[in-house]
Symmetry: C2
Subunit: 401 residues, 2 copies
């Protein structure tokens, strides 16, 4: 049978890790702290029914919703992004610089189409989002991990690795990072934008959790400090509207946007107009502010319960992160516990039946780094079940010490 | 500013052609035979309103529709494809071998991810679908054109070019081809499948018009003759359901499907679940057969009107194709008329205001080939306006002889 292209080889390891992740999510008896899916209570089902019922008529937006659309995306959805999602966060831009994508991963794929030749280096956080690494490896890039601390990517290590590896791109998730829940501090945001400009490196700022903040103060995105167009901002509607709608967007300068148009055309023409119309109406009809408050209240309670329970039930020497928003926390465990090995027992032992994501898969550098860590998602689990699940998981952990 | 990847250079020419195509479609005063969009009367707006109104409830499919979904796509949409779209056409397969895509172009992009390394040769029809060529060029493939006659790709020329160029892939639109409306004959379908198997070449069979047939007899797809898994079948819901929903699918063997899973994951995770649920319900509730009959009746009248009018109003020596289905016909004009140059006059002269797609852009071989041809789409124009538009265009053509 015909030989696969080279890129299918370079992505094999991360592709396998991701296939394993998907496989682990399907047992309904498990209390799953694994997936990154929003709570089902956070999905605006009634609003969407009302919107479609109203607009799906030939004299309303029905024809527009079902016909071919603009490559860049629906104009009034791009206006909603500009006025309701970007302006309040201190990001200026033009509607023409926003491209609507099929979910929040597609901006990463499209940016790679634009910039990544085989062998190029991409600097990533240590740990980072494993699906982004899969994309980078499909483009035959070499991922180099940059140290993080509780304030995000460490600028000194970043600059040292810029000098050493001459990267094409730096990939950062600045707010409530996946997998750690950490937030990049304001001064580092500015610093990273400047490093991009000074060294002529693309900064891919992936910020899908930014809007679901439960405590602390909003920070300006990296893009707000970008004076040269080197920062490309990617975002998603998965956390604030619906993952199943598969909507995201990318914001870039004129030159980059023109190329994004070409890459999007050659990927899938344009994003579903039907879901764009529904999402645009969600914003135009003013549903967003109340919906956002509702889901932040919901997740804040889950986050607080999760952190309380970890502190109560996990081994005393556990280091965990208190995230100001997003869907995850991250725990570093004591006593040589291997979270990759423990996951099998944790998810299959009938006394436990709790899953999480083992930390190892998030480290692009490999070598077993992070095998004492776990990503724990609180977004999709009710407080009652968080309490039950974390108690069981904590007892299992303690039994290993 | 950071340098773009090599692929953005190799795709520049076709990207420009496509940007020009999009640009020409936006004047509402023009009678447009340019775009390939379905008739607005062919969009099932009322059915979609009814479906969403019914399923968008927490006790129905609302949560499923708005939550993250399966990489391969929604199970019952894949079952509908298998039983209602493939089996009646003589294609056997398993649900597990169907991947749902974001529209009908994405299968082409994903197949390139799997197979195309820079410098690989792809054989295409002469003329062929310009957006497919753009994708091939983004993957830095070299497109070589294969002769066509009224029965489609000519097998003798195809085999000669296989021997000469050692291609990785052959791209074919077998039924009511874009841009010509021609249909590949049954014996050639079998022959192309066999050539793929014998020479170890991927056959990418792109068949989005197949189901909208207005006359003549259904032909088995190339995939029905594939004994080795070399044929990958791509299709779309754009013509039979709605382009704005952006739904398509790809059918391949186990080995290829496993890799398609990885490439899809690294492109955009999965296709919008919301539109998949709506489309699946469209089939499950039995709407498809009556809808298909309705749109075929609608398009048959438009096709017949278009052909009658071309025969009446175009210069006598014009060669035009009578398509048994699909949305286009193709005309080859006499007397040295250059359709690229004429398009400007045709679309801007207030006495004419008629657009089409100039033939030149569909020839991967370039060199001005096809500059006396035009693609004329009848799908989106009512019979009355077809008559007016073709008379005006015919008069303009005659005035040039």
């Amino acid at each position: 049978m015909a030989k696969f292209a080279q890129r299918m080889k370079t992505m094999e390891k991360s592709a396998l890790a991701i296939r394993n992740l998907f496989g682990a999510m399907n047992d309904p008896e498990i209390i799953s702290f694994g997936g990154g899916a929003p709570a089902k209570e956070a999905l605006p089902i009634d609003i969407i029914r009302e919107i479609t019922n109203e607009v799906m008529r030939t004299d309303k937006r029905g024809v527009e919703a079902l016909q071919y659309g603009n490559v860049m995306g629906l104009m009034d959805l791009r206006e909603a992004i500009l006025h309701e999602l970007l302006a309040p966060k201190g990001v200026k831009g033009k509607v023409d610089n926003i491209l609507i994508t099929n979910g929040g991963l597609e901006p990463i794929n499209l940016t790679c189409q634009l910039y990544v030749d085989p062998g190029d280096v991409i600097l990533v956080e240590s740990p980072t989002f494993v699906q982004a690494v899969e994309i980078f490896e499909m483009f035959q890039a070499k991922c180099i991990a940059v140290d993080m601390d509780d304030n995000g990517m460490v600028p000194e290590d970043l600059e040292a690795k810029i000098l050493k590896y001459k990267p094409k791109m730096i990939y950062v998730i600045p707010t409530f990072q996946n997998p750690t829940g950490r937030t990049l501090s304001l001064d580092r945001r500015q610093k990273i934008a400047e490093l991009g400009s000074n060294y002529d490196i693309i900064i891919l700022e992936d910020d899908p959790y930014r809007d679901i903040r439960y405590s602390g103060k909003d920070l300006l995105p990296i893009k707000a400090f970008d004076k040269t167009g080197h920062t490309i901002m990617a975002n998603s509607f998965s956390k604030i509207f619906s993952p199943g709608s598969r909507l995201g967007y990318v914001l870039a300068n004129d030159e980059v946007t023109a190329k994004l148009f070409d890459a999007k055309t050659a990927t899938n023409s344009h994003t579903s107009t039907l879901v764009q119309v529904i999402c645009a109406e969600f914003f135009k009809r003013g549903y967003y502010p109340a919906h956002l408050k509702k889901i932040c209240d919901l997740y804040r309670e889950r986050r607080d319960t999760m952190i309380e329970c970890i502190d109560e039930f996990f081994p005393k020497e556990t280091k965990r992160i208190f995230p100001d928003g997003g869907l995850f926390t991250w725990a570093e465990l004591p006593g040589g516990i291997n979270t990759t090995e423990l996951l099998i027992e944790s998810s299959t032992n009938p006394e436990v039946k709790v899953s999480y994501v083992a930390g190892e898969s998030f480290f692009a550098e490999g070598g077993g780094k992070g095998n004492n860590c776990m990503r724990i998602s609180f977004g999709g689990v009710t407080p009652d079940r968080i309490r039950i699940g974390i108690e069981k998981l904590g007892n299992l952990l303690s039994s290993k010490l």
